[in-house]
Symmetry: C2
Subunit: 332 residues, 2 copies
Amino acid sequence: MSSAISPAAWVAAHLPASRSPRDAAEAYAPANIALCKYWGKREESFKLPLTGSLSISMGALGTRMRIAPAAADSLRINGADLSPRDKAFQRLFAFLDLLRPAGQAFCVDSTNTLPMAAGLASSASAFAAAVLAVEKLYGWVLDGPTRSRLARLGSGSACRSVYEGFVEWHAGIEPDGGDSFAEPVAPAWPELRVGVLTVSAAPKAVGSSEGMKRTADTSRLYRAWPEQVARDLPKIRRAVLEHDFDTLGATAEQNALAMHATMIAAWPPVLYWQPETVAALHQVHALRAGGISVYATLDAGPNVKLLHPAGDTPALLETFPAMRVIDPSAAL
Amino acid sequence: MSSAISPAAWVAAHLPASRSPRDAAEAYAPANIALCKYWGKREESFKLPLTGSLSISMGALGTRMRIAPAAADSLRINGADLSPRDKAFQRLFAFLDLLRPAGQAFCVDSTNTLPMAAGLASSASAFAAAVLAVEKLYGWVLDGPTRSRLARLGSGSACRSVYEGFVEWHAGIEPDGGDSFAEPVAPAWPELRVGVLTVSAAPKAVGSSEGMKRTADTSRLYRAWPEQVARDLPKIRRAVLEHDFDTLGATAEQNALAMHATMIAAWPPVLYWQPETVAALHQVHALRAGGISVYATLDAGPNVKLLHPAGDTPALLETFPAMRVIDPSAAL
């Protein structure tokens, strides 16, 4: 489906006109992990999803970004300057072009508080932080849905990273994404923990967007994915509101495995799993059989995240000594 | 769906009346590997499948079974006597009860020419060999479809093991399975090889029938499985007839991965894969990227079978030194 208008025209029509920058502005946005996954677009240019999704923001793990007007564009990530030929450089400034007037250059200094080696995606938090920083730079006062719609234009899942806690992204049906934005569902539960098992921090052989597209184009099983989400999303939302950890965990695990199943059935197969991924899944199932409440979720990559109550962290660390423990309710 | 009549009544109505046994009879049936998988039943008592399937018989690898009238039932497999309390014992004689008159006992001596440690299923070849041996014992002369329908009552995929070469099992629609039987498609190609990578020969934590049922009951993605088969089965049949190895291999691999994908999306997950399974799949994909025509297929278990032309066997053995090579065109 293609839209009548472009993202640039949409932004021009929906943002305050003021573009007088302060000296500099800085903002923070958390990473997020989807419990009900975003997997597949209904429209590419506005990054509109086929289905809704629901995530938990990663508290103090995310991206802090400082933006200042400058004579020429520059981007520093974690203290290292990127070349203008770097894809990450081009992608960020192409996005910022939507928000700034022609001729305005930026010096961007971005710091990820999430360990790069953890294999957690930083693009969601980076684009969300960029929106929040530009908002401050120009002195705008945007509401949550507007921030979310803007961040989505940078990276789909970034639309969930403009909030803390549990966040739902409404798929929407409008061609320009006016109704495709995220909203908070509930604050993070203080006792919920996410353990990260890093199988590989190497760049993926198949990027998420390419994996999504190949799956949508070639996987017959993908046709059942919207049904999967239609069942899982309300279950997870209710579990969040009712504080029902086991329903949340079991539904999130099945949703993540179903997402990977749609990829495994693509051609050529999109097999993000590594041997250690499968080993970890079997260990999780064995721990659960032994009475420990732990559930796995996986994004489009080989790493495994373990949803569990804080009280079970010590027991899990015995099986997974290298597990990094994240408290989504922790403030930066 | 339940049938109006029982399998026993169906057999009584469709077999010759003669039940005067010779002294003994012996028969052989090959194992088979599905290229388009049988995954899910539409009816349990007659073992009727939801979809059609297509296999290649394993030539000289299978089951040789000798049956002789005796004072009491006994079963020897590969030289070892089984206890009447053994499940395999009970399953075989419950099946033979369909074919013999009340009061008739059998001494059964079964030998698998397929290495037990290879993790290849022997139930298909065993039930097919049982049908062929009983046919000889009673001096019946049955046609292929009748043999196939009978073998199906022992184990679904056994209905394909009453033939050599490429074999198609028609799903059928009749409630008593009258139209659910296998037929030969073409002789085995002399140059086709199947390499078996044995990841684990241990009994599976979840049996095939249970895995099938759990998948059908809980996996949303399974709803797209009939569509997958509707696409793959005619493609594989055509590839067999046209001698198109790459289409056969690619379609068989996608079909097998899609079958596993339906299981991975079940709850609790039916995860037959082991770390070595995923390692082997990545190696297969790397070999293919390097120009070697090799495709993977997997049954409901962790072992990987490598479809390849005989000429590539030496190159594959460099990557997989423990691979056992099967020539489906080899006679016993």
